[in-house]
Symmetry: C2
Subunit: 129 residues, 2 copies
DNA sequence: CACGACATTTCAGTACACTGAACTAAATTG
DNA sequence: CAATTTAGTTCAGTGTACTGAAATGTCGTG
């Protein structure tokens, strides 16, 4: 999975950090540059570069906030991320079809719990520094 | 999962590439520096650095090949990789216990097939360059 | 046993993302 | 409405991993 993400990044011209930033953006719907900086642990100066690369790759957009014109509203471009993963999505959909609904439920449960475990373990590792 | 790997790398002082190299080493049992270079797509010069970092982190060992003293036999240090992931391994073992043997079989089947899909999709992406 | 081929290391140069500080522009406050 | 705070960008400096080429040591071969 790590190798796959690296390959996606190489074809799109974005780093691993950029992809994690995109995940944050998609998860939140939209974020400001400052929020993004805090979330991924970079300085505001570095975030400019992150958003530059995501925008150049067509994955995110940078718009001024109409309420507060100092701020940016950074949003994911709908579909762009999916396009990069369309081959994977198709193959995974075919894979899912091999299982009964009951089996799919078990798999889904396991995946959700595994994600929770990974999040927790990541938190522990990052705390120890 | 990508974030977790990054956190592991940061605590051990190895890069994502280094970790993929370690996976190659463990998968093959042992490799020479040249084989490793070809496998992960780096020049021989860069591989010296990769092995340096893995050795410094206590994850791999670099020994001269007794048959051909120009060559290196690079092996993984048994247990070292597992130690870095011991927290994850424990949590995942507990998670596994929540499921019946039949359910575990379904999950195992899905994981194996998902890995195959990811390998294939990674190959396709890397080919397109 | 000398010669060319091979495996790895070393080293200078390059690329690139990050930090920290200065800067611009916009909002808030008194 | 001036002064302060806040948001983001720019820029010089830094760290680090990679490439390409030269150097070192070792293996086969005629």
């Amino acid at each position: 999975m790590v190798a796959f993400h690296e390959a996606v990044g190489a074809t799109l011209g974005v780093t691993a950090v950029d992809q994690r930033a995109l995940a944050v953006i998609m998860g939140a719907g939209s974020v400001s540059a400052g929020e993004l900086a805090k979330e991924i642990g970079l300085t505001p100066g570095a975030v400019t570069g992150v958003v530059d690369r995501l925008a150049r790759a067509g994955l995110a957009r940078r718009e001024p906030d109409p309420q507060d014109r100092r701020r940016l509203v950074i949003t994911a471009v709908p579909g762009a991320f999916g396009d990069a993963f369309s081959g994977l999505a198709k193959a995974m959909a075919e894979l899912t079809d091999r299982y009964t609904p009951a089996e799919q439920a078990v798999i889904g449960d396991w995946v959700a719990r595994t994600i929770a475990v990974l999040r927790e373990q990541t938190r522990i590792l990052n705390e120890r520094r």
